[in-house]
């Protein structure tokens, strides 16, 4: 019998039905990932609130930064929940506690609540950054500002907030009360409202724009289209009776791939093509890029569209064998072919990346005629980011440095735009003042290395080696934490040659004062 899956439903993932160590590795592995994400989320929140450029008010921040902030908040408040749930699993499996052991009175449904209390915010953690990327890409290639910027920002925040109140829509088939089903069905449907706001704003951004169908733009438009399909099928699971038909069928698989692959993954690809110059100073090949997009787009729809009807015909998930009489064969064959086409698309992308890194066309500073401040640094970005900390005076600050408006509101390139760019390039490459980066440290790496030792120790804690691993791991973590806390926060100044920037390898704006 197979072990529990990624969702760890109890008691299937418990010690009785999943003996062996697989689920232990899963529970502790996700636990440590969660710890890392939690710490990063604190870092992101503090960075975004506290280290903005001068004049960068909250409602002047790029939407991608906004969505990163919202995602960090989601992580901050949802990860502790899954941390406890995973500890309960580990305790049940390793130390004999009885949280989910029904024979002893434990309640497996508690796992579902805690898992989805985290799990639903998690799906917004996956989609909101992509929404942020698309909100950056669409305006640039439409040559128009984002339509309804404040609405897009508030809709993102609203999605996150509402996203905490809908978790039980994953549990309609688990026997929760009719009142709970109705309440969670309704709350789930309300999320469609801010999501719809975003879709309309993206379309409004493109409307009447001078659209350039570059690869990032294709992926961004693909995102909007596929996400609408996935969003609509999502609303159909919010309707409880219809969800009972769909639960645990391939219709669900189709839905979440339309939002996570057609959505998140396409958004990430848009971002990779868009920001590749910032990483390398070169452009990815547009020819290969378009081939990449159309292959992935075709393969994606061939793979996942048939799953809608397969699911509605009753093809259930997590099943090893389907008899031919069930009639699922043809569309499964189509889906398999589609999956190979997706793989081909990804291979094209990898080839494009590998080749363009060395041989791609040099991008210069502003290859896309972009709108936001990150394009005011040279490409690739120096490790200190900005040679001179920028001062921001408006939304889309960089754009307004390059363009004025004529009497009818059309953008007109300022005559001094080229000089502005040259100046920015110059101060970016040769900062007029020395920049101090924080001192690098080995202790965080050492500390992180100690944590899996403790994890392995816990999994094999009944043996001598396990106990030893726990002790060694704790010792490593403790001494690394101690060494880290003893390190001076700031690098001593006299170690610097102040005539040139020190390359600490930290792309941080933090400087010694």
């Amino acid at each position: 019998m197979p072990d529990g899956g990624w969702f760890g439903y109890q008691p299937n993932a418990g010690p009785f039905y999943s003996p062996g160590t697989a689920m232990d590795y899963w529970a502790l592995g996700v636990q440590f990932l969660g710890l890392a994400s939690l710490i990063s989320s604190v870092n992101f929140i503090v960075t975004i609130f506290n280290m903005r450029a001068l004049g960068m008010r909250l409602l002047r921040m790029p939407v991608f930064v906004w969505m990163s902030l919202v995602v960090a908040l989601l992580l901050l408040f949802s990860l502790p929940i899954i941390a406890i749930a995973l500890f309960m699993v580990t305790f049940d499996r390793q130390f004999g506690s009885l949280f989910f052991v029904a024979e002893a009175g434990g309640d497996p449904i508690l796992w579902q609540h805690l898992f989805w209390l985290f799990g639903h915010p998690e799906v917004y953690i996956l989609i909101l950054p992509a929404m942020g990327i698309v909100s950056e890409v669409l305006p640039v290639y439409s040559k128009k500002p984002l339509f309804g910027y404040p609405a897009v920002v508030f809709a993102g925040a609203a999605i996150a907030f509402l996203g905490f109140g809908v978790w039980a829509h994953h549990m309609f088939a688990s026997g929760i009360s009719p009142v709970a089903q109705a309440a969670f069905g309704l709350s789930t449907m309300t999320i469609a409202v801010p999501t719809g706001v975003k879709i309309f704003n993206w379309m409004g951004t493109m409307w009447g724009g001078r659209i350039k169908f570059t690869t990032p733009m294709l992926f961004a438009i693909g995102f909007v289209a596929m996400f609408v399909i996935g969003g609509l099928s999502g609303v159909t699971h919010a309707v409880v009776p219809s969800d009972w038909q769909q639960t645990d069928t391939y219709y669900i698989v189709a839905h979440f791939h339309y939002v996570l692959f057609g959505g998140s993954v396409f958004g990430i690809f848009a971002g990779l093509y868009y920001w590749f110059p910032k990483m390398t100073g070169r452009l990815l090949s547009e020819k290969l890029g378009k081939l990449n997009f159309w292959t992935m787009f075709t393969g994606f729809n061939l793979t996942f569209a048939p799953m809608h009807w397969l699911g509605l015909q009753g093809m259930v998930r997590r099943t090893a064998y389907y008899p031919p009489e069930a009639g699922f064969d043809f569309w499964n064959l189509v889906a398999t072919v589609g999956a190979f086409i997706i793989a081909a698309g990804v291979l094209i992308f990898m080839f494009n990346w590998w080749r363009s890194k060395k041989h791609g066309e040099p991008s210069g500073m502003d290859p896309w005629d972009a709108r936001t401040v990150e394009w005011t640094t040279p490409n690739p970005t120096p490790e200190y980011n900005f040679g001179v900390a920028p001062t921001v005076t408006s939304l889309d600050d960089f754009w307004h440095k390059k363009y004025a408006e004529d009497s009818e509101g059309r953008p007109v390139r300022r005559p001094e735009a080229e000089n502005t760019l040259t100046d920015l390039m110059e101060t970016g490459i040769n900062p007029p003042h020395p920049i101090h980066l924080p001192a690098p440290s080995y202790y965080p790496v050492l500390l992180a290395a100690g944590i899996p030792l403790v994890g392995w120790g816990i999994i094999y804690h009944t043996s001598f080696v396990g106990k030893l691993l726990i002790l060694v791991g704790v010792l490593v973590v403790a001494s690394a934490a101690f060494g880290w806390s003893m390190e001076p926060l700031e690098e001593p100044h006299d170690e610097h040659d102040d005539s040139e920037p020190s390359g600490g390898g930290y792309p941080s704006a933090e400087v010694d004062a």
Partner: protein
């Protein structure tokens, strides 16, 4: 300092006016509510379920003893804040004394918890594996105890730094404030646990 003067334009600033690390600590603490909330929810769910193997945690609580150790933790918040206050007045000696006092009160609480667990297991006959309510009780109070232990270690580290350097510098002063925030937070979580888990404990009808 020459370099610092040259970098006025590029100074490290806080857009909100709150120190980075202090903001980070408060942000982190706000997420800890969800952490302990889940543990308390587990306990509340299981403590009142009928039909478990006996004993239920509430059957074997020793309220006078727990009141005593809770009191020690509560008073450690006073010594913590006095340490912070002493450092602000640049009274290094008093700072050290109050730090040590806080760590000691924290250790009294931890010792109390070790004693309580031992009593519950050996005399009360309630182990982690006895029933889900017992599992929830040990996990909740255990994780809280782990937080206290981390706090004690951080306090002792500050004490050690102060002893070795003869004083706590301005930078360590912020560290002391951050450790203090963490320490008080662990205390307020115990204020909730003491009331909800101990004083308001209930057993299902027909038990006890």
């Amino acid at each position: 300092m020459e370099a610092a003067a040259a970098m006025d334009h590029h100074d490290q600033h806080e857009s909100t006016g709150i120190d980075h690390r202090k903001l980070g600590m408060w942000v982190f603490l706000s997420s800890e509510f969800l952490f302990f909330g889940a543990l308390i929810t587990n306990y509340l769910l299981y403590q009142g379920q009928p039909g478990f193997a006996r004993p239920y945690p509430a059957e074997i609580y020793d309220i006078p003893f727990t009141s005593f150790s809770s009191f020690a933790l509560l008073m450690s918040s006073l010594t913590m804040v006095l340490a912070h206050n002493a450092l602000a007045r640049h009274d290094q000696h008093a700072t050290r004394t109050w730090l040590l006092a806080t760590a000691m009160l924290g250790s009294v609480f931890l010792g109390g918890q070790v004693f309580e667990f031992t009593e519950f297991i050996t005399v009360g006959g309630m182990k982690l594996t006895t029933n889900p309510a017992a599992s929830a009780f040990y996990m909740l109070t255990g994780f809280h105890g782990f937080h206290v232990l981390l706090g004690v270690l951080m306090l002792l580290t500050l004490y050690g730094i102060s002893r070795r350097q003869g004083e706590l510098s301005e930078a360590s002063g912020l560290n002391l404030e951050l450790v203090g925030l963490y320490w008080h937070f662990v205390d307020i979580i115990w204020i909730v646990i003491f009331t909800v888990v101990y004083l308001l404990a209930s057993v299902p009808a027909g038990v006890g």
